[in-house]
Symmetry: D3
Subunit: 315 residues, 6 copies
């Protein structure tokens, strides 16, 4: 059974995919058709079903896994499925992770690394607060993507991104000894935990009501405040942790109500930006040969990026 | 004993004032002098003490009331005190409200009005949450100014501003029936309660550490979240109240991490803006005669405002 | 005869509509088709005529009322007419108001209210100038919409919007006694009269040459200037009225060559903004159920608005 | 009697100057002093009078010519007068032009050139409207400066600037034949006539009430509208002339409520910008030697400009 | 053989065109079709080939001249070719200039004018440097367009634009004697020479790798630097010429790393802007009748321009 | 002999300092005085000489080392010297490095590290080009500061900053294997070499003419281009290196004519930003105790930064 990433112009397939979205249109001669977004662990592809059968809309339900017969055709250099037929299948027992892009590093390894970072924290308040917050949202924290679309949008992407940032922080603290390692590592681990409330989950990820009305930054800041009260923690650590979360998008226009006002808050915001951008470029460069340019990259104001020949051997 | 607002060029005074600030400078001939900012309920005035006596710095302590002998002189059209001598006085028992601008409406009346508004709320969740939050910060809420400098910067200014907005909301709800009165009134009452944590108090008001690192908007949003948990309140009301607080500065560049996404959140932001601006203009127009212009008004990008002759009879 | 607002997927209709626009396209197999925008008092709907008959372009003339046979179909969740045939009908004697959205309050009531406001003005110059200007454009002022598309885009929308603002002004003058009621009410009534020259009329509203090259703000300012000369009016009132009109969009980037420099000019701009935004939200929320979100709202930078459950009973 | 431009460090003078402004200050030892801005046809210089005599404030009245004894001293590389004494002189009969920078070209020549341009207009409406407007404000148009401070701020500067732009227009119309010469020349002549109402006059120039509340752009647009009505002129010429005036600052943020929407309106705005900038640079480069830099130039965001050696022979 | 500019709805043609671009799409019934952009000296037109024959993609190769049979049809008021068949023809010996818009002035005349300008330069360094740089890129300089799309996008457009600017400079130097003619004329001639490296050539013009990664401004600045070293030229002329090139887009947001800091650099930037805008308007106004408006003009933020009746006689 | 960093209010000193700047002013009683900026390796301090002796201006020459007798006094919390006398001393043989802040790491160590990085480059073109460029400016590259004022403004600051960035790059390349180490390290080493032409030198650093008119970014890009021609280097490496230099300020508004379009160019810009900001904060935090705030930091839009108590042990 071919994966989406393997499909080529002319393929005839009989496969299972996750339905992301489905909308009905009308052709020039007033016949209905469906546009369906399919997904598996390797990517997404749009399909068209030109002849809509009576039960089709009950089959192509967003969030469901369906069985699909289709031809793959190329339209303006983009592959597309011409769906011949679709069928519902029993949803129970399906391993959904087969249909969601997975982390490049196995979840178990990520969890081990996370626990090691937690164990490495020396400062009592920092350690207590960080541990309390991660444990409160532990299951979601291990499974959620880091974003709906932008970067690290795969299962455990949130954890992957948080640990990647912690690695950066560890390396930079060695080079810039005036950085406080404990609070910076803690900031890397918790800065995006609010996404477990902002987003609906790892499959067919959407924004929740809280997500749309409050945003993950304010959600998480309030969680830290409440956690400090629950833990009866005094002193500046809870305030500084709240500040790091509030300011980690760096500028008001990027969603941060405060700009960084400590060295570690600034470092956190810059590390977050760096790690997200590197991941965005990984995605943009995927499949781009030396001497070619990427598609427009949304996160860079629709700029194109060039793939130099010096990367020839690597990719 | 003359008030600051009554002083004129040439006056010789022996009076008591609150010290707002005090800095030491050096003259061309290397003699030290002090620049002191004095305040009473009617205004502020800078003073210079050219001959610094040994104990002077212990006398002119910011936040203290001091006894001052001085001459009033005019410097570039601005009155200034030439301080001849200053003396410490016992601080206990001093009625500090004499030295802080007071609300145009007595605090007791404001409190009555507040209680009436609270009693008028119908929606159970809205009423419970609003009451809980106001009571938690009740004493400060009744005494604090609404800002350090910008608008409603007088004792009980926060309460005055909140009620003035509630009056606006009441009137507008009658004209725009699609506005939900309960949540809008509640929003007016609680939107700035975070200032009781952001600011140090009604006298010699400064920003606290929480104020500088978190800001009153995020502080209050976290309080609402925690209050809802304490009250075990479910449903959308706590989320919507948090959203109103988060978005009441309307735009990211004015400190709001979210922009208004409900009709009432939008109305709240616009009413807040209107009430603040009217108060800023009251202050800017004070003492400006018909046909004259105000000083530059900081809150309006240093624009000048004109006092028309049609206001002649009024002022 | 069904109204546009009542149409549903699958309806077969034989009805009369106003033609807003008509463009010709070509299908993949090189056959011509027409895309026509239809309108009646309850809304607008696009139609497609796939087989173009010789005389069709003489039938679907923008600004005309036509007789239409069509099927209603749903395309990407948007209803659309598949036009089977269209026929010209005699235009004389048609009651065009049947095809234009009408004011929620009958025109007669609005006129009465207008006259009452005019009668209530005390200041001689303000009253004389306001009356002169409104009478000069009286018929259009009573019939025009307030905008082509954005807000209050219905017959008498200009009058409706002006009076709604006057109501706001009346209420706010009571709450803020430093506001001058006369000039503010006058400003509400005349601020948008320039739209009677900027726009073509209440049906199939377009911009005129003056509208495109000068804009309603400058058009109206020049009218006030000329009116003052005709009335041989001296003093600051004509200048202040011109200033209010020039500054009522508040910022250069919104079309105002001057920013408000009197209290009443500022209040006028803020009231205008509030009334327009409330009307825009009324339109955006129409038909949106509690728990749902509006479509993107253009006037709010394509933001979505949430319909809370507390509005359940009302709508 | 030395002119301001000729003064040097150490000079002892007894001369007459126009007083631009006068403010009172207080020294460290509480003695009053005056800061006075003096002007003659060659420039401006600040003076300090350290010992204020009783009648001094009646002498140094802004707008008056006074007799001054002073020493010239250098303060932070800027020359300044130490005023020893000042005396009132009879103002009647004084030739004020001696105290105001004059046009590099005599007024008579400018007037001749203006009349030639008027005579050269072919289009009937353009000629009639332009002539009417210039004659209405003729005396002021011949005497006023083009600005308070920025560019062409000398007697007849408005006329000088208008004709300089007309020269540019004449040359460019030959190079770009698609430009309509008549309306462009007319635009150059009338675009800034509103300044005769916006500004107080050629001596000690200030903004008038109309100037501050309406601005010269809107003032002039209204004059054109009224002129067209007086002349009973129909057709698009008056509208296009209004449009040119409204759009000649090119962008809303520079004060234009409309952006240019005809080729000639665009050309007018660009020619105005070019002529103003060349004049600003003439002033900035005055006295700057090759290899040196100008002071910060306000109109260019405080940029410095370099004087190349290739200009050595010229200056 | 009809030119593209002469084609009308309903024409049946058998002609030769340059292929600019070709993309494959799929129709609703899953049949492939091609969208081809055709060009000749008079303009461009899109075509659709609905039935794709096996060899079609080898025929419609971008950059090739092809023989085309087609019907011309109107789609949403835009003409389009319905391509019936296409055939390859031998490319050798084809006169490509027949398929590329040509300069309104013959290349030979432009070259003569260029040589005259070069001969007219007096300053030794300016002349030597300018001549060296133009000769180094001479052939391309004579043939290249000034841009891919925006302005002067025709063969020899670069030269045409450079000379047009030189004409402007010559005229303005006469009106503003403080401008240095030599360096300004030189700046006009060389400012865009970097486009000969930034762009691929006069036919089917695209950006090169250097063009995309460095831009014509930096490319040319480096060429001047190297030329000065090759010519062993000392002194400020090479630095000033580099500065003129670096700053000729005036503002960082338009691609200039430096803002103009000499009078001539400023004049160059303004002349460049004026000449480009006049050319853009020539293109936008082409075929627009008096009383009509142009299409949206991209270079003016999608503004529309009005064609006045005073241009009736001319066009 | 006390260093500037050791001076305290009330000190009486007899010491040697570098003169950074000297300006003459006039006191209220018209006596001249000098304001002199003094510097040594530990910092800078302003001094006033109230009684100007005839030869003083020949003594306090910017760039010279002078002998100074002075009293240290505190003015508005800032220390200042009251200069009693100053004397010229012989400049030859003076070790200027004693008067310029020095690198925290000895120059010799930095040079060793630099050579190691150069030796570690594998790619032939990258190594050849980088080595050529560094050797061409070697002496200056080892001695120059990285900026006049902003960051790393000490002797060898340019080298220190370049190597610090290389260390960051080395660490990040290990964490992000898709980054090309060679070109990124090379970019770190050469990105700011243009500052050796932009700035005047390590003592009393100013901008040169090239610096002001071209900027270090364009200067260096042209050097790479010329170097590649001298080395007859083909291929994309020289273009990519130029691109990295052009884009290393990331955005046009920060001086980069191109935005990063390769992964390494982006990483370079972000690493440069990070290293500069960490150094700016080191300077801002110097001497700030836990619980206190820094002064306004210019590079962060005048934001204040907080010194947390968790840094108590460290500083």
């Amino acid at each position: 059974m071919k994966s989406i990433a393997d499909l080529a112009d002319g393929d005839r397939i009989d496969s299972q995919f996750l339905v992301n979205a489905c909308t009905k249109g009308v052709t020039a001669n007033s016949r209905s058709y469906l546009t369906i977004s399919f997904q598996d662990a390797t990517g997404t592809m749009d399909g068209k079903k030109w002849d809509v059968d009576p039960g089709d809309e009950e089959v192509f339900v967003p969030g469901n896994i369906v069985s699909v017969e289709a031809e793959v055709i190329s339209n303006k250099n983009v592959l597309q499925m011409k769906v011949l037929s679709g069928a519902s299948i029993a949803q129970e027992g399906i391993d959904f992770t087969r249909f969601v892009p997975s982390s490049p590093i196995p979840k178990e390894e990520l969890v081990k690394k996370l626990e090691a970072y937690l164990a490495s924290l020396h400062d009592g308040d920092v350690k207590k607060l960080t541990t309390y917050l991660l444990k409160k949202f532990y299951d979601r924290y291990l499974d959620y993507p880091a974003a709906v679309r932008n970067h690290h949008n795969f299962a455990s992407g949130l954890l992957y991104h948080s640990l990647s940032m912690a690695d950066d922080a560890e390396a930079l603290c060695r080079l810039y000894p005036s950085l406080n390692r404990d609070i910076l590592i803690a900031g890397c681990l918790i800065h995006d935990v609010g996404k477990t409330i902002e987003l609906s989950g790892p499959v067919a990820t959407k924004y929740t009501l809280e997500g749309k009305l409050l945003g993950h930054i304010s959600i998480m800041q309030a969680e830290i405040k409440e956690a400090a009260d629950v833990l009866k923690m005094q002193g500046e650590i809870p305030v500084l942790m709240q500040h790091m979360v509030l300011s980690h998008h760096n500028k008001p226009e990027f969603g941060s109500p405060m700009e960084p006002e400590t060295r570690e808050a600034l470092a956190l915001a810059m590390i977050d930006d760096f790690d997200a951008k590197m991941n965005i470029l990984d995605k943009a460069y995927a499949g781009v040969n030396p001497g070619e340019w990427t598609q427009k990259v949304f996160a860079f104001d629709d700029r194109y990026f060039y793939q130099p020949f010096y990367n020839e051997k690597k990719e």
